[in-house]
Amino acid sequence: MTEAVFANGLSKRYGERLALDRLSLSLSPGSVFGFLGPNGAGKTTTVKLLTGLLTPTEGACSVFGLDPCREPEKVHALCGVVTESARLYPQLSGLENLSFFGELCGLPRAAARERAESLLRRLGLWEAASLAAGAYSTGMAQRLSLARALMGEPKLLFLDEPTSGLDPESAQAVNELIAAQAAREGVTVFLCTHQLRYAQDLCSGYGILHHGTLLALGDLSSLAEQAGCHSHAVFRLGQGEVLPGFSLQEGFFRRPLRSEEEMPALVREAVQAGLHVYEARLERPALEDVYFRFVGHEEGGRADDTSA
């Protein structure tokens, strides 16, 4: 099956600065991929390379088998793209903006308007449909951008910080819409975000990018393993009781696990030892822990290099 997104040794250099260094990744159709990294890591550059807005200095990439540099319009027919710098026409209304982009997606005028109206309703922007886009608040403008990206019913969504600068309500509305798209069968989502908790709920695979270099790639459990982040067994016991080999932290006994398979035996042993087990749980490493382990290591490594 053709990969939804493929990159092989993809690099981009701006003068002396290497914005992206030999990125290689492959996403299958229908996957929801979280592309994580601090500001300036190269996430936006990657999205722009994959959508044909930039030409790679080295390497190659494809979207559903199409080269974004050679056939950008065919790639765009399959993709919806939201980036912070891609804005909507401030003098046109929300409805006019969406209808226009609907027509560019090949819809007849009436059908484009119909889809625009439907998306404006779904995104809670119907009341502002005839308002000039320039008068929209940041949250409304971001929702309108997302609606614009959805006008062509894309098979692949590139979302670059879609909730950046939004208030919690707007961020939630955008996140819900992305989740709804991700749940649609066959829709691939390439999500660049700082919202690690949200990414953990939504994404099935992750890439961690730092200073243009891909530090890690995989699902959460494989990333946790690579980062040396272990799952923990956590117990809350009766007053004065102790569990040998466990450390006590804020009233809970914790112990790292080599494998999650150890957990049932630990629970059984605690009960057989006559301990009062009020609570026993398996604490998996969060994406946040894994991310900071990778990025922290990298920063530490750089600091060491600098001091050396």
Partner: protein, 266 residues
């Protein structure tokens, strides 16, 4: 570049025309330039010629009129009327496509970059060639309408002047070359010039100001006539049209090469 345009290109044309109309500075320029240059100024000039007694017309005016209008007119009034029809009128008339096309192109190309909408447009499922064609077509169409309106304004003033002063109507071979060849070529020149400077201008206003560089060749075109160095005739204007066509062809090639996402979003 061949017309007609497809439905996506027409959508861009409609959007660009709407955008120009919504930009106050562009709207004012496009409305005021033809009104001032092809209606108000010629009307004032013709009114003065018609109302001021012939003996009060300055001797200089008589000499200038006699020098440039050749043997087409026989009285000072008619000579001066002929001067507006054959010398000042064409100069004003050529300014119209230049100013309207550069204003429209400034909104269409530089304005998109200024508002961050060029990236959005480049992310749509249309080719760069379609975007370029549609944008050039939008600017050209707008300029063509402005030119047509200007021609109607000027013709109306000159028709009244012809009746009042009993002078021949202004339209002749020179004007045919001007309207059907030079104006379209200068319109394209204005648009392409703006595409080329769009990467160097921070905003549409700055880009519009650079269009003044284009007014210079238009003035030069008529300096020959004013100085008496070149004869005013269709051949002279045809040579100017050929030069403009050559400039259009070269600049069009350069502009379409410069029209790449990386250069547009720089």
């Amino acid at each position: 570049m061949t017309l007609p345009l497809d439905s996506r290109e027409w959508a861009i044309v409609r959007k660009d025309l709407k955008n120009v109309w919504h930009t106050k500075m562009a709207r004012l320029t496009i409305l005021l330039v033809p009104i001032l240059l092809c209606l108000v100024l010629p009307a004032v000039y013709v009114t003065v010629i018609a109302l001021v007694p012939e003996e009060e017309l300055a001797a200089d005016a008589r000499e200038i009129a006699a020098l440039f209008a050749g043997g087409e007119a026989d009285t000072v009034r008619r000579l001066l009327f002929s001067m507006i029809g054959q010398m000042l009128g064409p100069l004003f008339f050529l300014m119209v496509p230049l100013l309207s096309s550069t204003t429209a192109a400034a909104c269409s190309f530089v304005g998109e970059r200024e508002h961050g909408t060029m990236e959005t447009l480049l992310l749509a499922p249309v080719t760069l060639r379609q975007i370029f064609r549609a944008k050039v077509a939008a600017c050209f169409l707008l300029s063509a309408v402005v030119e047509l309106v200007s021609l109607l304004f000027f013709s109306a003033v000159m028709a009244v002047g012809s009746i009042v002063l009993e002078a021949p109507f202004y339209f002749n071979g020179n004007w045919a070359v001007l309207v059907f060849l030079l104006c379209p070529l200068f319109t394209v020149l204005g648009i392409i010039f703006m595409v080329l400077v769009s990467g160097k201008s921070k905003n549409a206003m700055e880009a519009m100001q650079t269009s003044s560089y284009l007014v210079l060749p238009v003035i030069l075109l008529f300096v020959g006539q004013f100085s008496g160095l070149f004869p005013a005739g269709p051949l002279y204007l045809l040579i100017a049209a050929a030069l403009a066509a050559a400039a259009d062809a070269v600049l069009l090639r350069l502009a379409s090469r410069a029209f790449t996402p990386e250069k547009l979003l720089r």
